[in-house]
Symmetry: C2
Subunit: 256 residues, 2 copies
């Protein structure tokens, strides 16, 4: 073959399944390619039955730490040969979940590099949006309650995170989780109500002075995209996908 293969990229999807697919699509969309063979080697594992709900765990409704299922997914990717791996779920990046997961992977899967989606995201803002300080973010209740975004966008670094008000947070959560119209249950296609809630709450954050809005749940980019907003929009999944390409096949990263 004329094409040298890159170290295999791995994506822990299934959290949720359509969000994993969207993350994987970001890898394809951000690769320089005109034919099949130009694309990077990558693998997506989607085993949601073994990964309890992350929000449920952080809110005390699930007893098993999703870290164990995520580690099992990482083992499967490792068995397939993956070397750079990300988890396509914001809530999973809470330290209560992500630290034990990354520790297990570090100990038992030598040579595997975990690319932290939220570390990648904060680094992107610092490097490419140096003037942005007030950042709104839309997320699940687990992400809000766990304060995971405050672990990464630190006040010490000058960041001021902005969340919807209580009713808004509940609505955003419903846009993701509602059995009737939420993205997890209805993503192909997404229900208009879910999309409208997300647009409304994002605009409200902009009205309150947010200089950028983070789509802080991997389901959200299934319903809205950057073109929908006035202010800059940050999609952590897209950034992590680009980071994975830049590590495994830097010459193939599409200019953003």
């Amino acid at each position: 073959m004329e094409t040298r293969e890159n170290p295999l990229i791995g994506v822990i999807g299934g959290v949720g399944p359509y969000a994993g697919l969207d993350f994987f699509r970001n890898i394809l969309d951000n690769t320089v390619s005109l034919r099949d063979q130009d694309h990077v080697s990558a693998i997506l594992v989607s085993c949601p039955a073994i990964v309890p709900d992350r929000t449920g765990y952080l809110l005390g409704q699930e007893t098993e730490n999703p870290a164990f299922g995520m580690f099992e997914c990482a083992k499967r990717l490792y068995g397939a040969g993956a070397r750079y791996v990300s988890v396509a779920c914001n809530t999973a990046h809470s330290k209560r979940i992500f630290t034990p997961f990354a520790d297990m992977a570090g100990e038992r899967l030598p040579g595997l590099e975990i690319v932290n989606m939220l570390e990648t995201c904060v680094l992107h803002v610092k490097l490419n949006m140096p003037d942005v300080r007030r950042i709104g973010y839309l997320a699940s209740q687990g992400t809000y309650a766990s304060g995971v975004y405050y672990e990464y966008f630190r006040a010490d670094d000058g960041f001021a995170l902005m969340e919807p008000d209580e009713r808004g947070r509940e609505r955003v959560h419903e846009a993701i989780y509602s059995k009737e119209f939420g993205i997890k249950a209805h993503s192909s296609p997404v229900n208009a109500k879910a999309r409208n809630i997300l647009l409304y709450e994002a605009f409200k954050l902009e009205d309150r002075g947010a200089e950028a809005v983070i789509l802080g749940c991997t389901e959200i980019p299934l319903a809205v995209n950057a073109g929908d907003f006035l202010s800059p929009v940050i999609d952590p999944g897209r950034l992590a996908a680009r980071r994975l390409i830049s590590l495994a096949a830097p010459e193939k990263l599409l200019t953003s």
Copy 2:
């Protein structure tokens, strides 16, 4: 966990990459689910750099049989634990490619079951569309030239396959392969020209008496869907995805 995990489904994607993603989406779309954990365990490998172009090989422009790269992909899926595997490429189902691939997998990956997408497709037509005999199909030049569809839809069984005329076949091939507007180079979003060619050639086949039209290249469902046509449309990728679910987690197969 309350949910028992199914034997892992594997998809050899990357042939092409967006077609693999669409095949994987078919698995999600055809699963009964209201929450993440209801979805089946599945894994997608997309390593296009190691799988030469199938059409190119069948037309004598590539020397290496894609079967070897496909087998390497199957090994990676096997290493991750996959037990039921399909290949998301019609052209790859030509016996010149698929037979050596399936032989290698059968010999060296014990316990792995290869689900043949085109066998699944012909079985579906026999069972669910018993009156359909004249079947049009849109495909790449490799698929046409290799006669792969004639290996499965046999005249002995009463089938009469219908192809576009020479110019139509060239156009359909361009809709898939053109660097300027083809689906492989431009699938997110698809170029209108590619879509229009496919619609035009499918309608012409219907005009000539086709009782059903097969979307005989896994890129084609990225551009058109069943609702676009007057006659019944058959998407082999969707059928193979449903077959994989019915083998690995029959209770989760969505009623079609």
